[in-house]
Symmetry: D3
Subunit: 300 residues, 6 copies
Amino acid sequence: MLKNTNLHADKPCLITGQSFQLPEKLVQDLIDNALREDFGRMGDITSQSVIPEDAIATVVMAAREDGVIAGLRIAEQTFKTLDRDLDITLHIADGETVTAGTELMTVSGNARAILMAERVALNFAGRLSGVASKTAEMVQAAGAHKATICSTRKTTPGLRMVEKYAVRMGGGMNHRLGLDDAVLIKDNHIAIAGGIVPALESAKQNVGHMVKIEIEIDTLAQLEEVIATGIADVVMLDNMNCDDLRTAVNMIDGRLLAEASGGVTLKTVADIAATGVDLISVGALTHSVTCLDIGLDFKA
Amino acid sequence: MLKNTNLHADKPCLITGQSFQLPEKLVQDLIDNALREDFGRMGDITSQSVIPEDAIATVVMAAREDGVIAGLRIAEQTFKTLDRDLDITLHIADGETVTAGTELMTVSGNARAILMAERVALNFAGRLSGVASKTAEMVQAAGAHKATICSTRKTTPGLRMVEKYAVRMGGGMNHRLGLDDAVLIKDNHIAIAGGIVPALESAKQNVGHMVKIEIEIDTLAQLEEVIATGIADVVMLDNMNCDDLRTAVNMIDGRLLAEASGGVTLKTVADIAATGVDLISVGALTHSVTCLDIGLDFKA
Amino acid sequence: MLKNTNLHADKPCLITGQSFQLPEKLVQDLIDNALREDFGRMGDITSQSVIPEDAIATVVMAAREDGVIAGLRIAEQTFKTLDRDLDITLHIADGETVTAGTELMTVSGNARAILMAERVALNFAGRLSGVASKTAEMVQAAGAHKATICSTRKTTPGLRMVEKYAVRMGGGMNHRLGLDDAVLIKDNHIAIAGGIVPALESAKQNVGHMVKIEIEIDTLAQLEEVIATGIADVVMLDNMNCDDLRTAVNMIDGRLLAEASGGVTLKTVADIAATGVDLISVGALTHSVTCLDIGLDFKA
Amino acid sequence: MLKNTNLHADKPCLITGQSFQLPEKLVQDLIDNALREDFGRMGDITSQSVIPEDAIATVVMAAREDGVIAGLRIAEQTFKTLDRDLDITLHIADGETVTAGTELMTVSGNARAILMAERVALNFAGRLSGVASKTAEMVQAAGAHKATICSTRKTTPGLRMVEKYAVRMGGGMNHRLGLDDAVLIKDNHIAIAGGIVPALESAKQNVGHMVKIEIEIDTLAQLEEVIATGIADVVMLDNMNCDDLRTAVNMIDGRLLAEASGGVTLKTVADIAATGVDLISVGALTHSVTCLDIGLDFKA
Amino acid sequence: MLKNTNLHADKPCLITGQSFQLPEKLVQDLIDNALREDFGRMGDITSQSVIPEDAIATVVMAAREDGVIAGLRIAEQTFKTLDRDLDITLHIADGETVTAGTELMTVSGNARAILMAERVALNFAGRLSGVASKTAEMVQAAGAHKATICSTRKTTPGLRMVEKYAVRMGGGMNHRLGLDDAVLIKDNHIAIAGGIVPALESAKQNVGHMVKIEIEIDTLAQLEEVIATGIADVVMLDNMNCDDLRTAVNMIDGRLLAEASGGVTLKTVADIAATGVDLISVGALTHSVTCLDIGLDFKA
Amino acid sequence: MLKNTNLHADKPCLITGQSFQLPEKLVQDLIDNALREDFGRMGDITSQSVIPEDAIATVVMAAREDGVIAGLRIAEQTFKTLDRDLDITLHIADGETVTAGTELMTVSGNARAILMAERVALNFAGRLSGVASKTAEMVQAAGAHKATICSTRKTTPGLRMVEKYAVRMGGGMNHRLGLDDAVLIKDNHIAIAGGIVPALESAKQNVGHMVKIEIEIDTLAQLEEVIATGIADVVMLDNMNCDDLRTAVNMIDGRLLAEASGGVTLKTVADIAATGVDLISVGALTHSVTCLDIGLDFKA
């Protein structure tokens, strides 16, 4: 469980999960944006007109189904954004596995502030825990092979980095975070560039020495060409069956990293992992997520 | 199918779907934000280093499974944001039902621009079509009763309005868009306010005459109290079984709108609708969505 | 007088006046914007070049004419924005009636900070107290009838919400806060839609169930049509004389709310209120306001 | 009348009135902000639900009382912001004097766009024409003396520059635009600095050579001291009676500019001007403004 | 040395150097912007993956060559932006002259925070100390004449105000801060306006009474014309040789300020100053700056 | 010379130099920011008060000394930002070498717009051409060895990306663009992590497979340790003499990239390059730059 409790509004630091830190400003911007779209001009007119301004409440956020938790500190920060004086205790850290009924967080203080933050806090925690839970399931299904489960760029617009964070909390790793942190040459690039060799050479010549180069292929003949150039750091073996993947791994022989992609499901992932590939990338970790059911209950 | 094609970057107008218009600035901000998180400092370094600057391409966006389309104009605008000179034709309008293989959009022009926008455009179209498709399924399952299917505030942080739009494209309607456009008194409000009557009276007294008031209850005894005050415009019947719902509808007798909520699934929605309620609200329309599979293919 | 003192820069909460809360961010943005236009590149070059950096001063803000105060907490926050360590005491709360000479606020601390904030703080307090005072006058003139005095959308660009707040402080209520929180069908809508009935039916069909519908008419014949549809929640009786207003109120017989608008002045408002209308809307509460004279004096 | 028509959204230029240009970005930000507070999440839900998307209308903006017009190009730009394809003709230029009934502008095109922009466009034009009209009245009342009528920093928060522009359109000039474009030493500065001489010397020493220095005094003894230093460029004679003003002008003898301030009204301004002062500054030009009544009528 | 230590993130005040205060928001925006371009999506992935989250370090910032220091408080604020709990001691104040080896600042606390801020803090301190050092050299070279050394508008885009501040720290003064704080009529203005007299008269008529007017000339004949109008406050004698400058100073005879510009170097500045001009403006103070070498060392 | 002319305000595309594209939004934000700090509230009050609004001018931007040009399209875009209708012809492309007197760009159109943009346009072009020229000098001095000249993170705050672009225009390459695009383990990381091996292993374990890892060392013993782990992609040989560099290159034997850093000057760079290192990084390319002298002349 995370030890640090350094995320609060008066201290510009970072959400931490293992070695993946979310910039505080990024997180605060997401929260502010989500609150803004919920508040409109006036905020919670129900609480303002019905709840006394100085009413106090205590609420408990709890999981209503089994899963892996992520985004709890974002939920905490959402409450803090409404009222810095709320008293908040986290009972669970991001990355922990919980069962239905597990209490995640207790929040005490101004009732209006709690009610105004409730929905946004739950929307973050539910969605990110959904991503973490899905990732954990896939990692477990992949079994004890060396293959790392990776997310892709098929993320929810605007939530790229927090979803990447949730993948890490679920035990996965991340591929490129965006278009500019590494080269990934795909079929269309190859076609327009006039082939694998010119594409790789052009990339090599034009990007700096601190940038990795990956290329996507779908035949073993292409793989041979890739290996021959000695330029690529990683090869993506797209939609290959397990036999071809196994052959590819043998051909590569450790000279570059082998990544399997395409058609990865809970059912197929173990077989793919067994082929010896280094990485398996899975779009569904982020593009099709069922929120983990998390609720908030008022304590008498 | 929509006739207007007035969404382009040099004209500050609106995305239109029936009578639900998304403000242009809201849409453009979402697109810019999604592109920014994908581009980082440099944008698509692969295309920049591999694809000639003046290369031309034509791509077709197509559905890879059956569903209802939403967000196509947002995808179009994503491409236009990269290069206003791209030639784009929409073959389908938001709200239309398609089958796997249906071509949705053709884009021609600068290859780098197309490649840079591709992923973000697909992320929008896939997610919003997922929401529309899920809504359409629920509407169909509800059958030919008068009940309207409504979305809730359980939306993806930052995407509230476009998901609400997608719900409309799928044939649903929307409940409150946020905390400030209507009063919705829930159990905790009632508890803190000291009962249904003081809660309703306090709301009535404090909000303007153009604001509707809804109250959530879970017993028929509470319903009686609500009806007696004559204040509420709508009553939310939370987690009631169908017998109670039917009784509630009879008690209400058209004096206020009856909304069913809680435990609504594709299996239960028809029975709930059959009780005669006016509205059925369903969180899952937005909180747990499988992206509709939409892809982009280069044409030779 | 308000008890809460929870508006300060290190606590993201809300300005409160009765049940109308101004979002902290909205208020802070207005203050920052006003300071920015006054400061330009360098801020107060006079104080910087003439006043020692550590000079201390105590100033008193006082009313120089009778009126109702609003915006005092915004003035306070303006000073706090310059220097959080200023010692500020409010002697009066928003909504209170004062006479010329009444001390409103005492500020002690860094002299440069006080001098830099002075003009902006006074500009806010003077203008909003002007709105509150004008509203209070109108409310008083309307007499002991049930009619509520309402402001309109004829507000100063950029100050909509704080002026709406000042109206509340003066004892008035607010009509729509903007174009999207309720439907208000006017003559031009009716003309383009092809009549009262199609306009109301189209509105009914296209907006959600949590949105109220008002329609503006100017003849009793139109009123009959409106009542017959059973769709409108409120009817605006525009520029009708008092006889017609009285007839209209009788025709309506409590089935919907009656709002009088047009030509409302301190002289006419009592007669209008006496017709039995529920609401009287007055553009002049916000569009033509004389600042309440409020000044700042240095104490020896 | 202004010839240039260069203010439109696709050309980043400037609003021009004589030699006072409002930066385009400043104007556009004001408009966007005003539209945003009016639109909320959804914009004009009435027009969206009642008016067909392709309905066309023509409207005429006209003065309903006599006055001097200012802000017409801002109103025009407000319409253009909604729909660049609106056809707009200005019949009057900012700075022109009109009588009740004068047509100011004709707008033709998409009906929804016109209806969405209407209120904000009128709020700008009405308020700024109010400032221009009030200024023109004061200038006329001052008579044919050399004294220039100046506005102060008592402006509406957020509207400083457009109100300064409107003052120019009404025939006035402007004093400091903010705290940083010139030095103005007031009584409190003098008190803290330890007298007129140290205050002036400190200012002289600390600001650059391109910055003017003014000092506020209220006795002739102080004036003598100011003149003796030879540092001030301008002296503000605060709340002096006309005899003292006349004496002061004689004492100054053209060595620095003489500005009268305090208690300036339509009744007193001519006498003050007759004393021979160079400048008369009037807070009421901007702090207490009655909007000029301007309306919008649909043409059949 | 500066006494005040009032720059920290939880107090919205000002950086102070003598009488030149940098607005806090301006400084914080520069820091945030510089950190953002260095952090990208994720910040310091090296420290995150290599340094334990709770590692503590102490570092000393020291000058590695002789010079005048400026920007130290901006460097301090950069560290504070990463972690408000860092313990920072400044050993030197902006404006002080140091020798190689002088310790400037000690920072203790979270190692990751220190490492993340290091480069940006050094980039600010190095550059601004470079400007201050260059200015100090020029001031010293000018010798004991009355001439003030001024910077120009040839500043680094985005850093105008902090470079102007550094010039002050180095003992220089500033000319216009931008295009709007004073009039400076140059050769092209004169040409288009049709001569010196119409240009000066047009300026006089169109700007307010608080704005100074300077005109650039390059012949003594032009100077005569300028003096005759009695309008200009300052005259810029551009690229004149020392004989002409001396003649010009005599002709002017104290009626307006004389500024020399063009071709000012460490070698020529003393001779120019000896001509008796009031001001010497030097673009190179800001446009061609060698960073002062400042480094950061970890203490065991 | 560049063929594409796709940078203009109505087309959201990219500045292109070889394969390094600057995002349009980044460039426009820099320009807007630079104009804003120059314009203040009012923009160019000199031109507004002296130059007729419709005056027309033609100006030529020319190099006044020899060098390599960069930033010309940013200068062009600066003019276009003021007035899209300016007629601009580029005679030279970024990356070209010019001699004193070479005409770079001709701009015709509204005189006020040209004068308002002049200084900012020149500030960009002068500075970036300074960076490009300095880089080109260093590249030439390095001679015909394989070593690539790289810039560092010692850039001007806020100008990181445009300076990196200018380095490319001068023939150099770039190291990391920021803290998050690759791992660079320095001495302090090693010290805190407990040695080279744990530092490298920790990095390897915690970053994704698309991220390169470099480590800085200063002894050959350390180098041996680095090579043995097989983890690093690049090794930075810091402040080593040429003999040690040569030995290091031999030890490495192509297994990873060798980068020399520290003490690189025009005098030493050839010897360093001759040691066979792959890369030489030079902070001075960006941290200490003399602007290339570029001026603007009006044509009769």
